[in-house]
Symmetry: C2
Amino acid sequence: MDLVPVILSGGVGSRLWPVSREMHPKPFIQLPDGQNLIQKTFLRACRLPGVSEILTVTNRELFFKTQDEYKAIEGADCAQSFILEPFGRNTAAAIAIGALKLAESHGPEAQMLVLAADHLIQAEDAFADAVAKASQLAADGWLVTFGILPHYPETGFGYIQTRSDTALGHGLKVERFVEKPDLATAEGYLAAGGYYWNSGMFCFRVGTLLEQLGQHAPEVLEAAAAAIERSDISTGKRHRSLNLDPAHFAKVPDISIDYALMERSDRVATVPCDIGWSDIGSWIAMSELTAPDNDGNRLEGEVLTHASTNNFVHSCERLTALVGVQDLVVVDTPDAVLVAHKDHTQDVRHIVKQLKSHGHSAHLLHRTVNRPWGSYTTLEEGDRFKIKRIVVKPKASLSLQMHHHRSEHWIVVSGMARVVNDDRELMLNSNESTFISAGHRHRLENPGVIDLVLIEVQSGDYLGEDDIVRFEDVYGRATS
Amino acid sequence: MDLVPVILSGGVGSRLWPVSREMHPKPFIQLPDGQNLIQKTFLRACRLPGVSEILTVTNRELFFKTQDEYKAIEGADCAQSFILEPFGRNTAAAIAIGALKLAESHGPEAQMLVLAADHLIQAEDAFADAVAKASQLAADGWLVTFGILPHYPETGFGYIQTRSDTALGHGLKVERFVEKPDLATAEGYLAAGGYYWNSGMFCFRVGTLLEQLGQHAPEVLEAAAAAIERSDISTGKRHRSLNLDPAHFAKVPDISIDYALMERSDRVATVPCDIGWSDIGSWIAMSELTAPDNDGNRLEGEVLTHASTNNFVHSCERLTALVGVQDLVVVDTPDAVLVAHKDHTQDVRHIVKQLKSHGHSAHLLHRTVNRPWGSYTTLEEGDRFKIKRIVVKPKASLSLQMHHHRSEHWIVVSGMARVVNDDRELMLNSNESTFISAGHRHRLENPGVIDLVLIEVQSGDYLGEDDIVRFEDVYGRATS
């Protein structure tokens, strides 16, 4: 029997702004130990006994970035497959499409272990143990959830109520799912016992899941099958991917798997577990990953304090100074800084809403933007000029392109560049430069084995990213 | 009788860090209306009846910057003279040297009006009125202080106690100077009446001042005279300046004019006045120059708030977001951000002390550094490269120079550059570039009438500012 972890990578995590952005969502936020949540999830899944392939469901804009993150992990050599969504469509769609694809490739006896890309699980052995139990229940035809033993009356999660009279050997039958409670209700749950946090992780036998979906949510299953049929499949050296067709994917109902299936089925069980789980749902949860100093301050980066206690500071590149303050969260990024009270970190998403409604790019992008070939960082913009640092990965190449309104100076600061500039092809070593006139076709490529770092100074009347004509693109963007 | 305002421009204003830095001290901080404190002081002094010349005492490193600030003021065409200090040496030294120079140029009947460069005076007519009264008292041989009518029991200032039985027509005789009081004492002063804040502004007849200094502080007067004798005088088209010799200036006792003279003399009077005076001694004082919104937030720059009240935010270039916070001061600059409680803004100087003791440059410089010819801003530094934006003022020129360890790419983004590059001289228009090899002599000059803006990309093994050999320099720095 094959067990295939299915990593759902959706959601921005807007409560972790300004580090999270739409194009740099929560699974990609680096933790103090240097790894990010999606890397940790991939590695944890890959280490489970019997796992040889991992299916990731993610937004297509994050495909290359996700592959890069997986590639950067040491000691995780699972095969990778991807389902690429043109936009988010809730969990029922992702899970149904995943199940249909796994039925095709692995048969109905295969099991899928649904994991969120942005949760932290610190007790890995206990997690593996819980998965083994869930797998046995799934083999018996149960739809299995993972019920997290609650240590305090959290009001931000839904709860799973179990029936203690129906132990199933490795778990408990689920009585019902309950919505996020108020504090008194949550305290009642803890006092009563038999209630667990709904972690959003699942284990299903593929055949059971499809049968149950057909019974309780046939409209999801049918639309999912139709979307797959109209979608493109591509196979690379290291991965297979299904690129979902937007028009057909949009027809899959926008509903969670909890509403669509789990709350309707009577075949639902839970494996109670205590696995050091956190959804890193706010800056408070993030701050707990950094040890406090003698004043209770948890400080990342270059920070000076005076008469300040119990604060959390995350400072990337600049100096942060605290004077006479308590219980604050200060998060500094190159283009935005957040100052929040610890009791209000859930409200950070209101800032993101304001940014969206103002059309401000700070909810969407960081100053550094990732591309399939590497990244660029805008260092400065002014009247008629823009300066970028461009990093091109070894063997990677930008498209053959042309700009109508801007010319570009390129100066190599490290690595080696192969450049097409109009009708010439040249090699630039570090400290060499070239000038690309407006209207000239050009291409930038890193033929070497270390990163190519290049400073680009653009000048012209119009410097928008949309002044680009792509002639050839190895990433399939020539027509976009 | 000549009245010569003497502007004392010393002190960093470290409580206004991170906007104030040693090389960008408090007089240069821009207020919300766009002018800075030294400009306001110069303009206010220049508008006084009978004033045709202003003497500024400042650190020699701030000479060019101060001239630039004066030049940028509309409608202030007083003659400028300067006394340039190699380091700060307290007020007695500055005032004694100023008096000796004025005695030489204007004779003993001339009056000096001593003003701080970093105070704000919002009632200009009342100020002019107080100066007229002080001038009459000074003509009668009094050493005149300006006593600010206290509106609340401030504990951060010294007080002047007057004798109400000795009205002098335009002022009051001073009974004694008292140190910064505690709150109860300050409240007692206000209740008793006859106490005024010591503003640190003075009006003296030059002859009287020298005679009184000779009597009460002869060691100051003698050392001041000796320092002048050993110093260089230079005369430009728009100014005269006395560049004090460091060794002899160091021999002038480091003492305030209050201790050296005012507290010892029995010829001291005060002109009580109510002139909208503030020493802008902290971020609280600065915040009061910005009107509050409906939530009591005083916001400068791009700021978003949620559930936050009574905060002050000064944000230069980036987005600042506040969530659920009260009574904070947040000051954002390109390389450092301060988060302080309003009750602790006096303690900001402790951060500056920490920076100094760590040898951190953030107490000294901004990311933008002023030079006689314009300014440069470090946009990015990395391994073996550094990127600067360089702004050269019209008709200004950098020195003819050479670097041993770095080469430089120059790209003009606006304006016109005249460049010496080894044995060539060339003109670069915007969007043109040149490459300066390590070891080549070069010079950059702006022959035009608008600012020249240039991006410099340096590369090499060593990129320190001290890798420079200057051959010719219009600012006299070739040997430094």
